[in-house]
Subunit: 498 residues, 2 copies
């Protein structure tokens, strides 16, 4: 297994000087310190205010990025633990430290965190066995008779892998981007690469934007989706788990995947290149892989079992994360992957640390009254709107605010709980605002070329220049809004969600 | 960083045929199934009985070793979760799976588990920066004027690294064994290697047995020590944390480290070889390392800070695991190690999974009444003894039973909670039986050449043949019993523990 393919969930930290790094860190610390010592508003637990100060500084660190996300989350956690923020003020000093620590560590036993961890571990097996690559090549060579067909092949591969590869970077950037890149190389010579309207630019952008749709469709399609699910539980008391998430997404998501290649074709007007060479390349790459190995068959069996159990949960009631862990155990016992190799899949542990830490802090904001206080004060933003339009307005603000963020995770962390709180505060239906924010959390990544790992990677292949990516991105963003409001809203109404 | 040095905590799985592996696994499953369906004794929660069945099968798997420990623990956990064993029988079927999972995952937020995880992460930095090697070479070249001096150098290095390197395999097998091996190679030519009484055999056995003493002295000296600490809490309600553990061990532990080289010298009578060459080799290896790097200085500072905070806990009340996590965060923020490299230290995550899983299962045995039931029934073993002698007898049985186990962790898992329960049941003082079992848990590894990773590695260097190792081991075992009963018991009396 090539570990780095599974590992990174978010764009790597841009190269920057040591000095700039120190200044960035100092700014985060300063902001946190100022907030920490501001007078605490009435109705907020002083401990909640401290959590808020650290939380805001942590989010700022996701934007300035002096250090990786895992490090910054650990810094935030250790500050809150050391100050005994999570301990009851009535606890004896001797016990406060342990109590504070126990609260902080509780998120590492969170069921959503372990759903993501288990899916990460499985995605490592998908990649190591070669099954992910085989599925992608198979679909592309089967469907790729025309540029549009190639695009559908890419989308279909994203859809099949979406539920199992929770690092959208591993899926888009690790499995699919190299394949799409090699298809493009087969189609056009280097000199022609940057030609304005060629098929390469089309396929590259299909790859990036299809990745965001499948990231939106499954709770396990993107690592930080667990943050939305946790916020739904904490703030609105709604269990928006794997099944609900997928049910709400299936209709608008499939519509988006079907329409995207057509829409981008209309937008980009790729000049009519014969794609037979690309299809042949995918076919020969597939042939070069040889027959399915024993471990690929096992992995395929685990795929089918997991999807079967996930989609029939209402009959057997086995929790999604239990199914995922069962998949992990089957891979281990059958030897599809050895335990030591699985434990080396450090993307899983990275996700455990930052996702667990963030879920814990977000939960503390709710527990200590900060979310309620914020939601009460922010109601004014949407005065004069009906609850329905307030929810839509909030969702659109949420979508467009992604322009200010350099990573999906930072955007979700910063805003999702507060926005759910505000919407609930003005009586918007929980199952209107939650799906809107859940799916928009990923779809909004279409706006820029720096939003999330796979987009950075596709963009970094050099086929499309930044201004063009941003221009197309704005149209694709509009496309998503129209699809998910136009098809999603009626679908959720039909489900009785609002 | 060379990851494998930090990773293995227990002896690697011996090579065996696929068939033998399957048979071993089938035997474990069969035993578990038989126990599962046996009639449940009165007074035991049926769920506790199920946990017991899986727990016993898991321990058997540690002896037969069809698959690595991490895998077998996950198999046990998933079986118990899938059967909803951890859910309240009154819980609605719809919620039972999540409730069962949440109970199972809770141990991944356990403070003792995270103390071990944090120490693992720090030990990765100790190894990666070269500080561990430098400390060992420094002490050996400073003290190694005679064979006895070399032995003290090895013991001193073990003592300094003991608190920070919770994989005794990483400490003994990864850091020290290669150094001791290279000293031996300097001293005697290959042909002479296996000569009965040479200095090499002496130093090798000093290395192995000193490792077990430092493993015994610190809660963070061996990864599975957390199991003892958790059992003390669960079964006896005693918080036997890092400070208590070290306080009880410091006097007999130092005595053992001081006496061991003399005792082994008396026992093995190494022929008088001039060790100047070995000392010179350590000195030149040290010189070859060059001056301390920036990251070594940082790591050394973190060492001093952590030791300072750990030993002054009664003034500031900061929990041991918080101190360890602070050390981790300082290493990250100063850049002594990057987050991605730290996350690749898979030994930490391996330990989290198996230690967390085992602590959870052991806790369930207590929660569901199995330990109490067992202790009540096993009282008969020690009838006719005063509580004091009953505790001593139990501790000796515990020590000697290590002959039947191939890993310290399996031995601890199988017996420690039950033995504490039995001793408490016959009114033995908790703080007599707990320290005895805690320290004996590691010291008993002296008995065989297959007891734990570093012993396997030292033995595997080939300087000492198995019969001789076992013979010496029996004497060292006796030595430990005499030291820890002769000096330990009065020391704990002085501390007011019993």
């Amino acid at each position: 297994m090539s570990a780095p393919e599974v590992a990174p969930q978010n764009p790597p930290i841009p190269k920057q000087s040591e000095l700039r790094r120190c200044i960035s860190l100092a700014i985060c610390v300063a902001l946190g310190a100022v907030l920490w010592f501001l007078p605490v508003p009435a109705g907020v637990d002083p401990r909640g205010w401290q959590v808020m100060a650290v939380f805001v500084a942590t989010i700022l660190s996701f934007i300035l990025r002096p250090l990786p996300m895992g490090t910054m989350v650990l810094v935030g956690v250790i500050i809150l633990v050391l100050t005994n923020t999570f301990a009851d003020p009535a606890t004896a000093p001797k016990k406060a430290s342990k109590e504070s620590l126990a609260y902080a560590l509780s998120a590492f036993g969170n069921t959503t965190v372990w759903l993501v961890v288990a899916a990460f571990l499985i995605s490592g097996v998908v990649i190591a066995t070669g099954l992910g690559k085989r599925i992608a090549l198979l679909l592309i060579s089967a469907l790729g008779k025309t540029p549009l067909g190639l695009a559908y092949g890419i989308g279909a591969a994203e859809l099949v892998l979406g539920p199992f590869v929770p690092s959208n970077t591993a899926r888009g950037g690790g499995i699919l981007a190299p394949i799409v890149d090699s298809l493009c190389r087969t189609l056009v010579g280097d000199a022609e690469r940057r030609r304005r309207n060629d098929v390469s630019a089309y396929l590259i952008q299909v790859g990036a934007h299809a990745n965001l749709i499948t990231a939106a469709m499954f709770l396990t399609g993107m690592a930080a989706n667990g943050l939305v699910s946790a916020a739904a539980q904490d703030v609105a008391g709604v269990e928006f788990g794997w099944g609900m998430w997928a049910k709400g997404a299936i209709v608008p998501g499939l519509a988006g995947l079907i329409l995207l290649p057509v829409f981008l074709k209309f937008l980009l007007k790729p000049t009519g290149v014969d794609v037979a060479a690309a299809r042949a390349k995918a076919g020969s790459d597939l042939k070069a892989m040889g027959p399915m190995s024993r471990n690929e068959w096992i992995m395929l069996g685990v795929f089918v079992l997991m999807l079967g159990l996930w989609t029939t949960a209402k009959f057997h009631h086995i929790h999604t994360a239990v199914v995922a862990l069962l998949g992990v155990v089957i891979c281990l016992v059958t030897g599809a992957q050895k335990w030591n190799d699985m434990a080396k899949n450090y993307g899983a542990w990275d996700a455990m640390v930052w996702l667990g830490g963030l879920i814990m802090m977000a939960g503390a904001l709710k527990d200590f009254g900060v979310i309620d206080w914020f939601a009460n004060n922010a109601k004014g933003w949407v005065t004069g709107f009906t609850p329905f339009y307030a929810a839509i307005l909030l969702a659109l603000i949420y979508f467009l605010s992604m322009y200010a963020f350099s990573m999906l995770t930072g955007h979700i962390t910063a805003m999702v709980a507060a926005f759910i709180g505000v919407a609930i505060g003005v009586d918007a239906p929980a199952l209107l605002i939650i799906p809107l924010l859940a799916y928009f959390s990923n779809l909004c990544g279409s706006l820029t070329h720096y939003s999330t790992g796979p987009v950075v990677i596709y963009f970094g292949l050099g086929y499309v220049e930044a201004p063009r990516w941003l221009r197309t991105g704005a149209f694709v963003g509009l496309f998503h809004i129209i699809v998910w409001l136009g098809i999603g809203l009626p679908w959720w109404k039909l489900l009785g969600w609002w």
